[in-house]
Each structure stands twice: as structure tokens, then as C-alpha cells.
Symmetry: C2
Subunit: 464 residues, 2 copies
């Protein structure tokens, strides 16, 4: 993308309404604009990141064998009356009446609707196990929405639901979700620690919340510092293997890590003192096993192997997709702006032309742009007639992990400068070497990138 | 995908509530399930098609230089009061009150919100031209929702908005949209004819509606039969070229083609009698130029080259993404079920194992599955223990364009059968030849497909 043709309305001033750094930086980098309290428009740069997160979530859910679908935003009040939650849910549920006077609501979650779909179509244990999920906009009428997309009212969430014949099978689904979530967060450059939590209005016995440590987190958390050393990394997991998934679950959840809701001072004090930590965390996901809490009242049964009807064992599993952007920025920024992890950056590499209008500099930038695009990467080329300082400030603010700087002086020596946003370090390279270096950096994130030949229309597919 | 692990709840009986063929087939093929009147859940197969259409729309809009973003579903009533449309819009607008008593609405369209974003961030003519678009769920509280997703209440729509300094520039944006829309529909296997239409509540002088001819269409249309011979095809269009875009617009709109709203019997009768046609059509998109209708009352001005503020010239442009699925099915089906055009099919190729459990047949199917997946195609393998007749009926119903049938008898002769859903014709081929044939068929739709080597994780990217 050439910046002269893009819509990137960066702000020079810090917006007064933003209390935390992610909110401030998202506004300043032209990622979002508030439409009304707690409701945001995603401007092009913000939408691009949102879409990248959504894609990572889809890829990891599909890898785990979970099946994507899409439920509507508006739901019938009658279904929620069946489960008994219509009256339990307080004012955070946005209640709506249509022109015929029928009660509806903007879904805050989908246990009822998915259970209704299940009971309408599945009748035999032979169709189990089954896990369905969707990524859809939800609404929670927060009394005081704040912190930008971190605590908004309209928010994008992935929620998945497993249906199993037995508790044992459902616990495997629980573990499968835990593994897939850890992989999802790691691909986004985040460490999200699964912590024992409280089940709240969803209900159920088993639940873990995934927390990203950050000073601005809304939850107080307590943990054994050793828990932060664990990584899933690149290991191959067979999601059908009960043992493999359980082993990962145990590895990640055996050490003490709890939110204040389930914190137990006595147990905590058994950790060696030098490893006891209390901190703040941002919730970015939660998994639940709740057995037959919804299937029994709503009649979601299957015929078991013995021919008798049994209510299915269920769980639900959520990832806060839109709030994750806030969490990533809280965890990765400096005083100049955002520092995107490579897995989620909106553009792979910035190109800064130090002397727009200089024939050689323009040509070199065009060639870099073409070369990066040809291998399937998306550069953002600042081709505006601005002074270098302004261009650098914009690139630092929007946080692309890598920047190539092109100027007449360097070109005389046959070099451009490749700079890391994170470390600020620069190396001088020939343009060809710079392209190769950037391609190598992104190879792990894009196994399908062509490294050898241009792929026609390839860059469009980054939207897919 | 292996059918034994998928969620494809096909119905044997015709659902009583479905009056038109697309609604009936979408229910029977397990693509959608009604959640309440005019509101649908998209089951996995339906969601997959929806996502494919969405991707085509994104690709063609980006190709035309338009910039994707995302506005929220809920909007503030105050903005609509500014434009004067809050009171004009009737009961089809779903009005909502939040916990603080603030008036909101579920957006049926976004002229106000996008104009608000524009005026908040753009102040100079130098930032023009600018076209922003999004694909978002919208709501229209139809008094009698019917015909499934064709006339639903919650529907997915692409809407784009151009901002230009002059009427001339805005008309270029209009033409650019017309070209990109024709290309979009053609990629979906549809002929959608641009017809002069009425602007309705959006307002403005220039507007064309895109109609797919179908008996079940809601509009009566009148046209010169020669208009159905025009195709955009594969020609390269430079979307920056005013002349090229205007030439396409003139080519597609010079012949008589109007909806009943603008039909003129006198002009119609000047067409040679044998070319006069009246028929029914399904609206799948509409483009508008409405000048300063929103920019003036809402104060969306830029500083012109002479330093004076001028209201921008705007247009809006919509594609009904969810209803397009209905339109495609209305235009492409037979008495056995859906016939997907290759550009939008949920899976590229079905694999039917005639003798599940037979070692050789199972192995051959597994190899076909692996080979198709390795080149980036998505097969749907019916690996259930069902008789062949049931498997064929399911494949015909869900309408994959190509099917490979594998049985012990054919394998003895080293062949499988490749069958076209459209013609019903079959050819016997070696498994390798069958894979190559299918790859050749899809090559134009997937320029990025690897034809030579497996691409790790590639199939996930069909979700991107």
C-alpha cells in the first residue's frame, strides 16, 4: 500500500479521553474512531489487524478439528427464557423489541442458540464428538465502557461449543481448546497464562481464564513465577490424542496461577517465597466445562449406544478477538508507539523514502515495493512529500516491525537501511539483501509464501 | 474435510415454510437454520460459501483501489437526526434504547456514520479521492420476512462510500464501482445486469441496480435482449483510467435495461420487437451518486485548491452478500439440488467411496484426498458407512461441481470416475489424471495454487 492512497488519520496529540496506553495508541495510530460510548469504527489499519487476529483464530480452531459457522447477532428472548438466563442476566444484556413487539436481544454469548441448533439436528451419539464455533460481534451494555476496545460494548468474540457423550470426552474437548488457545496466543506474540478462575454467569465446575500480564490489567492475579517459563512453541500436537492434550494441559496448569476470584492464600504460601508473584492481568479468553447445565433444561439429548436418550456434556470456550488488540499493544509498545509482533502486524515492512521526487530514490522504493509484494508480503510505502522526521514518527507510531529507509546518499553506496522497530538497530544492506532478510523473518509466519517467483494477485489473498 | 467429522445436517423432506427453490435447497443442504423470523444461523456449509463470496468482494474492491474498514452494527440515533433520516425512516429501522436511555439503531446502511468519520479526519482536497467500504451485518425490520436469506431481516452487505472533490471525480468513482461489481458477479458465476433504477431513501440522481434474471425475482425488469450478450471477461482494467471505466460503463448501460420503477414504455418500444424482453430479476447490488446530499447537512467539507471549503461529492455502493447466495442458487440448480459455480463452491471436489471399509477403496480415497489437499484444494470426502445411492444424493444436493467416485471395480482397472454436477457426464481416469483435471479446472479461480508441491498448512488459508 502506498500511504498517499491509504486512509491513515494519525493524531499528533494525545486524546484526552484515553486513560490507558493501548487506547491512546489505537486512536493516535488511526486504528479506531469512537462512534458512541464503547462502540468503535475500525479504521483501515485497525481493521487489518483485527482481520489478522481473526484469521489466526480460524486457522488454529480448524487445526484442532473445530468447525466454523456463524450465528446471528440478534437472538430470540424465548430461547433465553428456556435456559432461565433471560431474567438472570442484568442490565448488561441489550434488550430489543421488534416492530411486532417480539422480545429480542443482542447476543452477549451463544450457549442457548447453539444448543437449539444441536437439538434440532443431532440425535445420535454416532454424530459426536462435535465442536462448533463462530466469530461474531457481541454486545454487553457496560455501565461505564472504558479503555477503548478493551472494555467496549460492541466487541468481536470467538465462541466455541463442544458436544460430547461423556464427561471424559468433554474434558478432552476442554484440553483441546486449552492447547489451541495457547498456540493462538503464541502466534500473536503473546504469553497468556491459563489461570483457575470463577465460572460466573456461564456456570460449570471447570474453567480457566487466559491472562496476559500487564499493569493495566483489570484482574489481580497470583502465580508461581515458573509458570512464565513454559512455552508450547513449535511442537506438533495430535488434537485427537487424549494423552497429548492432557499432558499439555497439565504442564500449563499444574503450577499455581489464579485470579483473585479463586486465589487461596494458604496454597499460595506453599510456593517458595522467591517465586511468589502477584500482578495484574488482562483476560483474553476463557474455557468452561459445564456438563449438562444447558442440555438438560433445553432437551439436547442424543440416543446413546444402548438406545436410551442422554443429555450431552458441553463446554464453551471464548477468545476476545477485538480486546486482544488492546492486550497486544499493552504488552508491546514504547514511548514512540506500537511495536507489532510479526504474526499480527498490519503491514510487514515500512518503506521510507527520504527524498521523495528524487529519481533514483523513487525508483529504488518502487523496486523494493514490487519485490516485497511479489513474494507475497505487504509493504507500506510512505511516498508522501513529507520530511524524514515526520515519516519516521508515523512509522514508529503505527509500529511495523521492520522499516527500510531509502535515501540518495545510501544509494550512492548501493545500500538501504533495514531497521528493527523493537531494538531500533539498523543494518546497511543492498536492496536485494534487505528483501531477502525481510522474507526470511516472515517465513515462519507465512509457510505458503513464495520465496522464488512472483505470484499473481497473491497480495489480495492476505484478506482471505 | 471428511464428512464423518463434519456437521452437514441435510434434510430429506422439503421444509414446508420454504416457498422458493433457494430457500428450500439451503435448508435441505444444511446451509442455514432459521433462528427467528428472517434471522438465520449459517451452518458450516453455508458459512463457507458466505465467506467465499465475502473474499471475492474484498479482492475486487481492493483491486479497484477501495479501502476496507469496519463500522459497528449499532449506530447513534443522533447522527441520523443530523441527516434528517431518523424520522423519515419508517418501521423497517430497528430502534434500540440502551441502559442509559440513549437512542440507538441497528444500522440498515452507513451514509451518516461514514460521513462523520470523514469530516472528523479529512480536511484537504489533497486527501481525495477516497473510497472506503466495509462488509457488515445490517438489519431491516421487514414486516413479512420471507424467501430465506433473500429477504431476511439480519443480512450481510458490502457498502462503500466515495468522497470526491468534484462531480466529475465522483462519477469516475461511480463507474469504477460499476466495473468492479460486474467483475465480482462474473467471478461468482452470475450475470447481473446494471439497470437504471430509482434511488429510494438513499437519494440522488444517478443510480443503477444490478439484477440477476430469475423467475422468483422480486422486480419486474424490461430490457433489450442484446444486453445479455455483454461480458467483462478477463480483460485488464486500469481502475485509475477515467476513460477505461467510462467505456465499460457505457458498454454495459447504453442498451435499454430498466426496472419497473424507471421503465418507459415509449423508449422501450423503440427497441426492435424481437429484442424486447420483460422478465423478473433479483437485486444483488446498487450504486448511487448523490452529490452533496449528506456532506452539506453534515458539514463534510474539504479545503479546495483555492483555500475555500467545499462540500464533498459522494456516492454509496452496495452488494447484498448474503442474498447473493440465494440468487446464485436461483440461477444455478436442478431438481436434484444446488449446482455451485466453481468460483464459489464450498468444497472443490467431492470424493465418494462406493465401498467404505474395502482396503483398496479406502486407500485410494485417502490418496486422492491427500493429493487434492496438497495442491491447495479442499475435497469433501464422504467416508460414511452409507450406501452409494445416499452418498450420491447428498453430493447432488449440496452441489459440488465435481465428484470423484471410487469403487473396487474401477480400481481393478486402475480408474476412478470424474463426474460433472452440471452435465452429469462422467469420465474414467486414473486417480492421478483425475487430480490433474480437477487442478486444471480450478486454476483460473486460484492463481496462487501450487501445482507442483505440497504446501504446508495451505488449506487453512482458504479461510483467510
Amino acid at each position: 500500500m502506498r500511504l498517499s492512497r491509504y486512509f491513515l488519520p494519525v493524531l499528533k496529540e494525545n486524546p484526552a479521553e484515553a486513560q490507558i496506553v493501548s487506547h491512546r495508541l489505537m486512536l493516535r495510530a488511526g486504528m479506531i474512531k469512537q462512534a458512541q460510548a464503547g462502540i468503535y469504527s475500525w479504521l483501515p489499519l485497525g481493521f487489518k489487524v483485527l482481520r489478522k487476529l481473526e484469521n489466526i483464530v480460524h486457522e488454529e480452531q480448524i487445526r484442532a478439528g473445530h468447525i466454523p459457522m456463524l450465528m446471528p447477532t440478534l437472538q430470540s428472548a424465548d430461547l433465553w427464557r428456556e435456559s432461565g438466563r433471560y431474567d438472570d442476566y442484568g442490565q448488561e444484556m441489550l434488550r430489543i423489541t421488534d416492530r411486532h413487539g417480539r422480545d429480542m436481544l443482542f447476543g452477549p454469548t451463544n450457549e442457548e442458540l447453539i444448543t437449539d441448533i444441536f437439538r434440532g439436528h443431532v440425535s445420535s451419539y454416532k454424530d459426536l464428538p462435535l465442536t462448533l464455533y463462530h466469530i461474531q460481534w457481541k454486545f454487553r451494555d457496560e455501565i461505564r465502557p472504558r479503555f477503548g476496545v478493551m472494555r467496549g460494548r460492541e466487541f468481536l468474540m470467538k465462541d466455541g461449543y463442544n458436544f460430547d457423550l461423556t464427561k471424559e470426552d468433554a474434558l478432552h474437548a476442554y484440553n483441546r481448546h486449552l492447547v489451541s488457545y495457547i498456540r493462538t496466543y503464541e502466534r500473536m506474540g503473546l504469553q497468556a497464562i491459563p489461570m483457575r478462575a470463577d465460572s460466573g454467569p456461564i456456570g460449570g465446575d471447570d474453567t480457566h481464564e487466559f491472562l496476559v500480564l500487564a499493569e493495566t490489567g483489570e484482574s489481580e492475579v497470583f502465580y508461581d513465577s515458573k509458570v512464565t517459563d513454559i512455552r508450547l512453541g513449535e511442537r506438533e500436537i495430535d488434537y485427537d490424542s487424549v494423552d497429548q492434550c492432557r499432558a499439555v494441559m497439565e504442564e500449563f496448569t499444574s503450577l499455581y496461577a489464579r485470579t483473585d476470584e479463586t486465589h487461596d492464600e494458604a496454597v499460595f504460601n506453599q510456593i517458595p517465597e522467591e517465586r511468589r508473584r502477584s500482578a495484574r492481568g488482562i483476560e483474553v479468553g476463557q474455557i468452561f466445562y459445564f456438563g449438562t447445565k444447558y442440555s438438560e433444561p433445553m432437551g439436547a439429548t442424543v440416543q446413546g449406544p444402548d438406545g436410551k436418550p442422554v443429555p450431552v456434556h458441553m463446554g464453551s470456550h471464548g477468545i476476545g478477538v477485538s480486546r486482544l488488540i488492546g492486550a497486544i499493544i499493552e504488552a508491546s509498545h514504547d514511548d514512540k508507539g506500537i511495536i507489532w509482533p510479526e504474526g499480527v502486524t498490519p503491514f510487514h515492512c515500512g518503506i521510507v523514502n527520504l527524498k521523495q521526487g528524487d529519481g533514483e530514490a523513487d525508483a529504488a522504493c518502487d523496486q523494493l515495493y514490487a519485490a516485497l509484494s511479489a513474494i507475497g508480503l505487504e509493504p507500506l510505502y510512505d511516498d508522501r512529500n513529507e520530511r524524514a522526521g515526520g515519516k519516521f514518527a508515523t512509522m514508529d507510531l503505527i509500529g511495523l516491525p521492520w522499516r527500510i529507509t531509502v535515501g540518495p546518499r545510501g544509494l550512492k553506496n548501493g545500500v538501504v537501511e533495514l531497521t528493527s522497530r523493537k531494538t531500533g538497530e539498523s543494518v546497511e544492506l543492498s536492496p536485494e539483501e534487505a528483501v531477502k532478510k525481510v522474507a526470511d523473518i516472515y517465513a515462519p509466519h507465512h509457510p505458503h509464501l513464495s520465496r522464488e517467483e512472483p505470484m499473481a494477485g497473491r497480495s489480495f489473498h492476505t484478506w482471505l
